[in-house]
Symmetry: C2
Subunit: 212 residues, 2 copies
């Protein structure tokens, strides 16, 4: 799944970086497939083809490994998302593509892995203390990225709140996809939501009553 | 938390019903607070003040207990929701109250308990086979209840899909409330979405383009 680098005399720094990346990717894969209980440092190290000692050298505790994996994967995915929207022209089609990409993000392996960690943290005070700042950072970052992709004016409180609602809906669609393939139903919702959102983002429509 | 019935010569049938109810309520409380791993039959029986033998008489396996608890609590909550909307007059205020009550449902203890079960089922094939039909039933039932509360025409595909989107958004708001109190942010989203939904449910508005 993660190709082992084979260059002769690979510099130490590159080898360390490749080892860390294999560990972080394996962590996300194992969390999504086997849950919190099935993602110990030993299991991640074995899945990544790294010795347990090497894994612990890079990530002394399981919490370090798991929060490191979530941050690394989240940052990569957000950079991809931003890149993917750079060339889109304004209009209903851009809104649809942005909603679709944001929803795709919340139905991917990273969301499924994060869900296992969030859920474990709900019943574990120590883990919760590590995860809450991470969740807040992810929330802010996802919001900013979605605003940029939509080319929307986040200073407008209606826009700000509808972008948040879009992210909450995407999170809900992610949850609906955890046990079964929800893609057909999801596609109808994404199209309808994009229509409704696009209309609501236009000033002066019925979807933007001035009295609230 | 669940008062023990103290009547003398309480008929056997009533005692059994009260025992089952205590077990089901304790199951939901323990799942929400301590997660899947902290909700064995023994722990639930102890929390409910019921002997382990009596618990196993009513619910032979942990899966029987947990699916029984989810069904019982879900059915009660849906009946409450329907009852709470019976007296509301049509208009924007009804839409707001309905969205708020649906979102309240997804941020309550039952949702937090169900989340623990759904997440455990993601990494457990046998449990998943028990949970998938339950999730489908809950989804249909919540949809029908929301349509009734809104007094909406579910035969209209736009209405049908926007009600689904509302439930997905509510599920996402539920997830956002698992680790921290998200109520202030959530209230803004509920108000904005109720406005947008109400406008979109009115035929002939910009939020209902005819071309899709």
């Amino acid at each position: 799944m993660t190709g082992r680098r084979t260059e002769v005399r690979e510099p130490q720094q590159d080898r360390s970086r490749a080892t860390r990346q294999r560990l972080l990717e394996s962590t996300i894969e194992l969390l999504a497939a086997h849950g919190w209980a099935g993602s110990t440092v030993a299991e991640v190290a074995e899945h990544a083809g790294v010795s347990r000692g090497a894994a612990q050298h890079h990530y002394p505790t399981r919490e370090d490994l798991i929060t490191g994996a979530l941050e690394y994967m989240f940052d990569s995915r957000m950079a991809e998302l931003r890149g993917s929207a750079a060339e889109l022209e304004a209009g209903p089609r851009r809104t649809l593509l942005v909603v679709r990409r944001v929803v795709d993000h919340f139905t991917g392996t990273l969301f499924k892995a994060a869900l296992q960690v969030w859920t474990a943290a709900a019943a574990d005070e120590e883990l919760r203390a590590r995860i809450v700042p991470l969740e807040a950072k992810f929330g802010r970052h996802a919001h900013r990225t979605t605003v940029e992709m939509l080319g929307a004016d986040d200073a407008d409180p209606v826009v700000h709140t509808l972008v948040q609602a879009t992210l909450d809906m995407a999170r809900g669609l992610g949850l609906a996809d955890v046990l079964t393939d929800d893609s057909a139903r999801r596609d109808r919702i994404v199209r309808q939501w994009a229509d409704t959102l696009h209309a609501a983002l236009e000033p002066g429509t019925a979807a933007r009553p001035a009295d609230r």
